[in-house]
């Protein structure tokens, strides 16, 4: 059976792309290597309130908690508090990712999308050099799935891009390696997402505490892979939990690992091929969060695919509307935040403490990166050299 589109991976990027492609007239199949959509969860489960504007999720079963704000702690414990208005852009909700993903899949199926589970892509079908579908394996059986367009939404470990000649392999300095416990019987009394920075705490990353409903929380760590040693993420997280009185009487009900690309986005379209979400490296390099890009990018990809099917034109030129679209929507922010990540990696604990101290009484009203940098530079003129390039990009991004 031939489809217009085969989507590899039923995560948020895959389900949203598939849904909007189907709603715009495409015949779509998703293949998913796992045996349950959304499981295992591989995520901190924080997401921006921006999703409210997009109307992609019905009901509230996927919501574990609505956040009132965020607190960022420097290595010496200095706290910078962000209200919901400001923090909401990054951590508005803590969600149940398994239910979240399944809800997105439900909406895709409602739009007419077919799903094949336990089916792993093992290569691309090609006619000479033209991509004509996906070679897959369902249990032990090989199947050829023909399609005019292949969508790679196969996550951080993506192979679809590489098979099409796009370099998606990550340098360890562009990967956060993560571990997380869901702890119950914790003493987290308010709806704030907490972030802990410092070289000893989490080199090149941070520890997070995301409250998840009544007396339960996700407590996780991401460290930069280039600064990691075997098992280090788990060890540092265990130490943090052992030393925090809030978790004294807690017990884990889930333990998971994760990997978040914190790289520059790659080329996302080729003839007969599109990459979306983590596979396209569409992740905020400061937070390691990628869900909003999956949803926003997936919608743009789906709509572009609808047009391609209508015109029966699956060329790179036709599909480039998607690349233009995501660059417009969040490309500049990704580029800027990658630069910020690179700059922050140079900060030692003393600098982080100093910055936190400068910001702890800062009135975060109408915050923009540019204004924030200006305020910092006024206090610490030596930072100017490091941040000059960033200011230029921030002006372009107008955020």
């Amino acid at each position: 059976m031939k489809y217009d589109v085969v989507v590899v991976g039923a995560g948020p990027a895959g389900c949203v792309t598939a849904r909007f492609a189907a709603e715009n007239g495409a015949k779509v199949l998703i293949i998913e290597r796992r045996s349950e959509v959304g499981v295992p969860v591989l995520c901190g489960e924080g997401i921006s309130r921006k999703i409210d504007e997009w109307d992609m999720l019905e009901g509230d079963r996927w919501i574990a908690g609505r956040m009132d704000g965020a607190r960022i702690y420097s290595p010496d414990g200095t706290m910078v508090k962000l209200s919901a208005d400001l923090a909401g852009n990054e951590t508005g909700y803590v969600v149940y990712r398994d239910i979240f993903d399944q809800e997105l899949a439900r909406r895709a199926v409602k739009a007419g999308v077919k799903i094949m589970m336990n089916t792993m892509a093992i290569g691309l079908l090609k006619d000479n050099d033209k991509i004509t579908g996906v070679k897959a394996k369902q249990f032990d059986e090989e199947v050829d799935i023909e399609a005019d367009l292949v969508v790679g939404t196969d996550g951080v470990e993506s192979k679809i891009g590489q098979w099409a000649g796009i370099e998606t392999r990550l340098n360890p300095k562009d990967l956060e390696t993560c571990a997380q416990y869901t702890l119950t019987n914790v003493e987290c009394t308010d709806a704030y997402c907490d972030f802990y920075l410092g070289r000893e705490i989490a080199p090149g990353g941070y520890i997070w505490v995301f409250p998840k409903g009544k007396d339960t929380a996700n407590v996780g760590i991401g460290i930069l892979a280039s600064l990691s040693e075997s098992g280090m993420a788990k060890q540092l997280l265990d130490r943090f939990i052992a030393n925090d009185p809030r978790f004294k009487n807690s017990e884990p009900i889930r333990f998971l690992a994760g990997a978040a690309p914190v790289a520059n986005p790659v080329e996302t379209v080729r003839d007969n091929l599109i990459l979306v979400g983590d596979a396209a490296r569409h992740v905020d390099a400061i937070t390691g969060g990628g869900l909003t890009c999956c949803l926003e990018g997936g919608k743009i990809a789906g709509e572009t695919i609808g047009k391609a099917v209508e015109e029966q034109d699956f060329s790179k030129e036709m599909l480039s509307a998607y690349e233009t679209g995501w660059k417009e929507a969040f490309g500049k922010k990704l580029k800027r935040n990658y630069l910020v990540k690179e700059i922050m990696l140079d900060f030692d604990d003393k600098t982080l403490n100093m910055l936190a101290d400068s910001l702890k009484d800062y009135k975060f009203e109408g915050i923009s990166t540019l204004r924030l940098i200006k305020a910092l530079v006024l206090k610490h003129p030596t930072l100017l050299m490091k941040l000059r390039h960033l200011m230029k990009v921030s002006k372009e991004a107008k955020e």
């Binding site: 470990e157 571990a179 990691s228």
Partner: protein, 62 residues
Amino acid sequence: MGKPKAKVDREKCLACGGCISVCPQDALSWYGSKALVDDEKCISCAICIRICPVGAISGEVY
């Protein structure tokens, strides 16, 4: 004796996919929902060993 090749402990692996994303030789892939090393392709660089968040990959001399 050859250099140690990476080997995934299938009991410890939590399938995050990090190792697959950084392997410079494309020697890692999914097998039965866990990461698996193709020791023909492995060049003993140990990147995957160092980046594993739960210490599920170690070096083994064949």
